[in-house]
């Protein structure tokens, strides 16, 4: 005891003491490093896979799929890790940096190329066939989101498209014909003006600066693009894209939509659900909430998006991907293939939360809410355009609404704002290279 204390206060200044501090720090780092690793397991032993998802509502379906997979593959055990979406990507980035990401996980469009280009994802192309996966089973535009530099990194899990929801009660009251598949932009604009009754707080449409639900669709419909096919330049300064954006700013100018400030305070979906919005461009994911809302559920229906120069809709969906540094690439691939199978898609369809990506399994979803014409969401697949992404999508996407905002509130012409947006996006794309 005595000796120990003497050693700690060694008279040589700094000598032992500094070294022991460094050693202690080193030990701490070493411990934290080893804590992350886990033992390898050779060939025939039981293999454990982790599967990270973010949606609690889908967990039961995922567990059912896993149960089936484990029954067929008794040597593989899969554990779900549920991470709320708010922290999913922060955690994933940290885990991938530390080399301890889960073996298999959900991926979305904006993050797909980001993870693929940084070598975090396992390239699947060569393994697909041997595991019985045929990419022709999924919507082509959706599959394309998960391919990068000619290699496939994800197997589509589900998808969503956008539809035009309308409130029949408000249409009847204003004496306007319901929208259908023959509608054009002009029909929307005319109806929106007619349906608006500002004194009663009723608006014809909500025209917020949302990309996926609103202006991506109209840009495609006008024949424009958000990002060039080679992923190197922005399309926002092209005349067609500006037309697609102007469709919305014109609606704002006509006061056929609540103001931008108003839509910031009260989300348009809420206004639609309170019965004060006649038309609303909404994703297929909104259908469940609408069907449950006693306030409007009997007054509403959905149809395909009206056409501009042509028909178009943005398609997005999730995919299952595997970690490039997984210790069990073979088993992970096997699990991925099963997640992409028709069997797994049927389980997802039966729970009714999302539209499964496997062609031919979507009927169950359509039938889950027979009171609405949900088939519209599937009809749109014929002309669906992939959700625009690049290697670092959020670097430009997170600033879109901020730059477009002044045009939406009428302080700036949309052509000017669109050019600023293109300049910002081109700078961001330049940085990616």
């Amino acid at each position: 005891m005595r000796n120990k204390t003497v050693a700690w206060s060694d008279p040589t200044p700094g000598g032992v003491r500094r070294r022991s501090v460094i050693a202690a720090v080193g030990m701490g780092l070493l411990l934290s490093a080893t804590a992350c690793g886990s033992g390898d397991s050779p060939g025939n032993e039981k293999v454990e896979l982790s599967y990270r998802i973010w949606d609690k509502n889908q967990q039961p379906a995922m567990q059912q799929i896993i149960d089936k997979f484990q029954a067929a593959n008794p040597n593989i055990k899969v554990t779900i890790q549920l991470t709320p979406s708010a922290e999913f990507w922060t955690k994933m980035q940290a885990d991938a940096t530390a080399g301890s990401a889960p073996d298999v996980f959900w991926m979305n469009g904006p993050n797909a190329q980001f993870y693929a280009s940084n070598g975090v994802l396992l390239p699947l192309s060569d393994e697909l066939k041997s595991n019985g996966v045929d990419l022709a089973n999924y919507p082509e535009a959706l599959t394309r989101i998960y391919s990068y530099e000619g290699k496939q990194y994800g197997i589509p899990k589900d998808f969503d498209t956008i539809g035009l929801w309308y409130n029949k009660k408000l249409f009847d009251a204003a004496g306007v014909k319901y929208p259908d598949e023959t509608w054009t932009w002009q029909n929307v604009a005319d109806a929106a003006r007619k349906l608006t009754n500002e004194s009663k707080g009723i608006y014809g449409i909500a025209a917020p600066p949302f990309g996926q639900e609103n202006y991506y669709n109209t840009i495609f419909q006008a024949g424009g693009y958000v990002i060039s096919p080679d992923g190197k330049t922005s399309g926002y300064d092209q005349p067609a894209a500006i037309e697609g954006l102007r469709f919305w700013t014109d609606l704002m100018k006509a006061k056929a939509s609540p103001s931008l400030k108003s839509m910031t305070d009260t989300f348009p979906a809420q206004t639609f659900q309170s019965g004060k919005l006649a038309m609303y461009y909404a994703g297929s994911w909104d259908a469940v909430a609408f069907a449950k809302d006693d306030n409007i559920k009997n007054d509403i229906d959905v149809t395909v998006l009206p056409k501009g120069q042509k028909q178009a809709v943005v398609i997005h969906g999730l995919a299952n991907v595997a970690y490039a540094k997984t210790k069990h690439p073979k088993e992970a691939m096997k699990f991925l293939a099963f997640l992409g199978s028709k069997e797994a898609a049927d389980i997802q369809a039966n729970t009714g939360t999302v539209i499964p990506a496997f062609t031919g399994t979507q009927e169950t979803w359509v039938k889950s809410m027979p009171q609405y014409h949900l088939q519209s969401y599937l009809d749109e697949l014929a002309y669906a355009v992939p959700y625009p992404v690049s290697k670092n999508t959020s670097a430009w996407q997170s600033k879109e609404a901020e730059i477009l905002g002044p045009a939406w509130s009428g302080e700036k012409d949309i052509a000017v704002a669109a050019k600023e947006l293109a300049a910002m996006m081109n700078a961001a794309l330049q940085k990616e290279q």
Binding site: T5, S9, V25, V120, P208, S262, D265, T266, A269, A401
Partner: protein, 323 residues
């Protein structure tokens, strides 16, 4: 026994403790010193590993182009140059300074409330104190949610009350011209309780004799407050000022919560006028994945806080009285 006596008592005690003298008599550098190092080792190591090392790393990152999954390339001061060229940085600095100034203006308010709450014979004193302290212990998320409802331009309670007196309210949290002040008001409301506790403790440390003497000399309430309460409370005020300033300069959560919409904060037209330096750091480092640039922002903020705190410490000699 007055509050001043209780405060003074332990001070007399510690001076006469035999143990205290014994420690001082031992020669320095003995075995006690070794033990002392051992005892503070957990704290020191924790501080070094979780604070100092990350700060050092961050400093290095600010001179690099940092890959989102590790891997740094040295680019010299390019991040700092980019910082100067970025218009949103200037706006964020302005926003942060305005917010901080408003928070500092909340300190006199806290002093006033503390003085009122400290009056003898005030009924339900502890209830008031609990009420004022409640916002401090409430989760910022809940606070922001509540205020978003109250600030709602179409259905909010504030605009409803205003409409009763014939005033048309605004979209408080979405209007670029007022949103920063609306957020700052919440900030004051949230920190009032904390500063109040500090000032109440300070007030109770002022000997009652001073007030008695002032009363005998015929000093009025305002004069007593300015000549006795404020100078003797100055150490507490100084402490609260430093803390408020540092907290305000780092403000992030409140702005983030108040600006967010279901489609992301960038949809809020008021965001550019509310975004603080810490918010910009978050956006650059974690949304746009530009860690090097984010590190540079964090360092500018750190420097900012250091300079401001240094100035405060220099100025304190002029107005802080240590009784």
């Amino acid at each position: 026994m007055s509050a001043a006596d209780t405060l003074a008592a332990p001070a007399r005690d510690s001076g006469s403790k035999p143990g205290g003298r014994a420690i001082r008599r031992r020669p320095p550098g003995g075995s006690e010193q070794g033990w002392a190092y051992l005892m503070i080792a957990p704290m020191t190591i924790g501080l070094a590993v979780f604070y100092l090392w990350p700060i050092a790393q961050m400093f290095y990152y600010s001179f690099t182009k940092s890959g989102p999954f590790g891997g740094q390339t040295w680019i010299g001061t390019a991040n700092y140059h980019a910082l100067v060229d970025e218009p949103s940085v200037v706006q964020a600095v302005v926003n942060t300074l305005v917010y901080t100034a408003i928070q500092l203006a909340g300190i006199p308010l806290a002093v006033l409330f503390a003085t009122l709450l400290n009056q003898r014979g005030l009924r339900g004193r502890s209830i008031y104190r609990a009420l004022y302290f409640l916002p401090v212990v409430t989760m910022p998320v809940a606070v922001a949610m509540l205020w978003r409802w109250m600030y709602n331009g179409d259905y909010g309670v504030i605009n409803y009350l205003l409409s009763m007196v014939g005033v048309r309210g605004m979209h408080w949290a979405a209007d670029p011209s007022v949103a920063l002040y609306a957020v700052a008001a919440i900030g004051i409301w949230m920190s009032l309780g904390y500063n109040l506790v500090i000032f109440l403790a300070g007030l109770q440390g002022i000997p009652a004799e001073y007030y008695e003497a002032a009363a005998i000399d015929g000093s009025g309430a305002a004069r007593t407050f300015l000549r006795i309460t404020v100078p003797l409370l100055s150490p507490s005020i100084f402490f609260a000022t430093i803390l408020t300033m540092i907290n305000s300069l780092q403000m992030f959560d409140l702005a983030y919560m108040m600006m967010s919409t279901p489609s992301g904060a960038s949809g809020n037209p008021a965001l550019p006028r509310v975004r603080t330096i810490a918010y910009l750091f978050y956006q650059k480092a974690f949304v746009e994945h530009d860690l090097g640039f984010g590190a540079a922002i964090a360092f500018v903020l750190l420097g900012f806080i250091l300079v401001m705190t240094f100035i405060q410490f220099r100025l304190q000699k002029r107005w802080v009285h240590y009784g």
